[in-house]
């Protein structure tokens, strides 16, 4: 597969990962520009269908990133999100979606370096997996 630039959709928590991404930016950390960020008030409100839709529309990977357990602004939204990710990781691979296209991480507000590293790693990994061609293919 020819070299391509993957599109990674990231659903990030307003209270932690979004701030971490901001920090990574203001700290001028170098990171690939492949992530499209969607700021959520909490990962606990990432409906599984947002993730399914992203993959069906051709996202090469989806990242859901929230606060470390115990740090959730809404007490436990991140733990609910983890169960939903578990659910999707059980369902979607049955239909040939590579499990590595679904990633969940805990990145706190002060962890800008972690965020940049996660993006670097994920971009490299998804590049190796190859393109999700559903973007330009007819999906029923």
């Amino acid at each position: 597969m020819a070299d391509y630039e993957p599109a990674i959709i990231a659903f990030v928590c307003n209270w932690c990962t979004y701030t971490a991404a901001d920090l990574a930016g203001t700290s001028r950390l170098v990171q690939p520009p492949n992530v499209r960020m969607i700021r959520m008030m909490c990962t606990g409100m990432v409906d599984p269908k947002y993730i399914i839709k992203a993959l069906l529309e051709g996202a090469d990977a989806v990242l859901v990133s929230g606060c470390h357990p115990g740090d959730c602004h809404y007490i436990n939204g991140n733990l609910k999100a983890r169960r939903r990710m578990k659910l999707l990781k059980e369902i979607l691979p049955k239909f040939g979606f590579d499990e590595r296209r679904l990633k969940m991480t805990w990145i706190g507000a002060s962890e800008g370096i972690d965020f940049a590293e996660t993006v670097r790693q994920m971009t490299a990994e998804v590049k190796a997996l190859g393109q999700n061609d559903l973007r330009t293919r007819m999906v029923l």
């Binding site: 399914i52 069906l56 115990g70 939903r84 999906v139």
Partner: protein, 410 residues
């Protein structure tokens, strides 16, 4: 806690003997009403009915191999608010398991309900059943009872004699007893029933046992709960300590046969949908009618997002999609709908097969949903409908679990 009694079958007709048992429930005032499969005075159709007049139970046919809809939904309507007076619900094992899921989702309450679970030997799809019931008198009986007048005419329950529908019920059970199997007129019981490992009801207060007995002579009555025991006591059902060995053996044999069928089905279905291309051809005939969702007893949303204006896309949006892809299949969102529905119901799927029964285009959706549900329920260590106490997987969480999801960190 389990106590065993017996219903003696008169005239080799288990249906009318069961009717007598249910009449007793109403006449003794044990319950105010009985929810039971009832033969309608039209078309040989069988539907759940809420019966309060003992006389009307002459139309009850809980043994009919018909499964027009999952009655858990009906019981959920009746118990949306707790009942003041007790009712009895005669249901299939899968209906009871669906009801258990609905109770856990706060869409029903089991408080004043006496759940009567009938051993299930399977049921035909709706179109097959209508055909079989209509042509019933023509089906050769292995052993026609002399005292039963030949069924003719309207099929109305009050017409005297056995209406043709009931005759088909008796033939179905006679064929199974005599080892002839379930194929009638080229139609077999639905794949959901053939792959069902729960022919015996879980969580029933009272079980009506067909397996391992000669149902032309007697039916087993087993109370599984205190509530069930009290009811049998009130009705004056004599307990006997007859060993249940033959029942045990019959249940085990049937379950292992069905498990084998189920596992073959899982394997076949997994292979048939193993990538998105295959999934699309699997769902190729889907027309987005959403009947599978309407028929599903555990599709619990009061309003489905797929029928809200979220999916009333802007006309220009369709054109943008079409331009990007070159061709856009209409209606859109078919695969999206099915994947989303699986995310919703797979933890609660009890495998009743009403989705396939409701599909107008013969898409084998039951096979797909059950295969996925099996994996999901295994992943969460959950068995849908098995217990009132086990919390649905997506309604609870723990601080330390599934660390593999977040790369080993928790």
């Amino acid at each position: 806690m389990s106590k065993t009694g017996k219903i003696t079958v008169k005239d080799r007709d288990p249906v009318s003997s069961l009717q007598d048992f249910l009449k007793l429930l109403l006449e003794k005032g044990t319950v105010e009403a009985v929810l039971v499969q009832q033969r309608l005075p039209v078309n040989n159709a069988v539907m759940p009915a809420l019966v309060t007049d003992p006389e009307k139970l002459g139309g009850a046919d809980p043994l009919a191999p018909a499964f027009p809809l999952n009655a858990a939904r009906m019981l959920s309507r009746l118990t949306r608010k707790p009942l003041d007076t007790p009712i009895a619900a005669v249901m299939r094992p899968c209906e009871i398991r669906a009801f258990v899921e609905l109770v856990k989702l706060k869409q029903g309450s089991a408080g004043n309900v006496i759940l009567i679970g009938v051993d299930c030997l399977g049921a035909y799809g709706n179109t097959d059943y209508a055909r079989i019931a209509a042509s019933s008198p023509a089906v050769p009986c292995s052993n026609p009872p002399e005292n039963r007048p030949a069924a003719e005419g309207s099929g109305h329950v009050d017409s005297g004699g056995t209406p043709p529908g009931v005759e088909s019920t008796l033939t179905f059970h006679r064929n199974i007893l005599s080892g002839k199997g379930t194929v009638v007129d080229g139609a077999d019981i639905s794949p959901a029933c053939k792959s069902c490992e729960h022919p015996v009801a879980l969580n029933a207060d009272i079980t009506i046992g067909l397996l391992g007995t000669n149902i032309e002579e007697s039916l087993l009555l087993i109370s599984n709960t205190e509530k069930g025991g009290v009811v049998l006591g009130e009705l004056g059902i004599k307990e006997d300590d007859e060993p249940l060995d033959s029942r045990q053996r019959a249940v085990e044999a049937l379950v292992s046969e069905r498990l084998a069928y189920r596992d073959r089905m899982f394997e076949r279905t997994s292979a048939a949908v193993s990538d998105i291309e295959k999934l699309m051809s699997y769902l190729g005939n889907c027309v987005n009618c959403y009947n599978c969702r309407v028929a599903c007893p555990v599709c619990y949303c009061r309003e489905c997002v797929f029928t809200t204006d979220v999916f009333d896309h802007e006309p220009a949006q369709y054109l943008r999609w079409a331009k990007r892809k070159g061709a856009l299949k209409m209606p859109t969102d078919t695969v999206f709908y099915h994947l989303t529905r699986m995310a919703h119901m797979s933890a609660a799927c009890i495998g009743c097969g009403q989705c396939s029964n409701a599909c107008p285009n013969g898409v084998p959706v039951m096979e797909l949903f059950r295969t996925v549900a099996h994996g999901v329920q295994r992943a969460f260590g959950y068995s849908a409908g098995a217990s009132f106490d086990e919390a649905p997987p997506l309604s609870v969480f723990h601080e330390k679990e599934f660390s593999e999801v977040t790369g080993g960190h928790d």
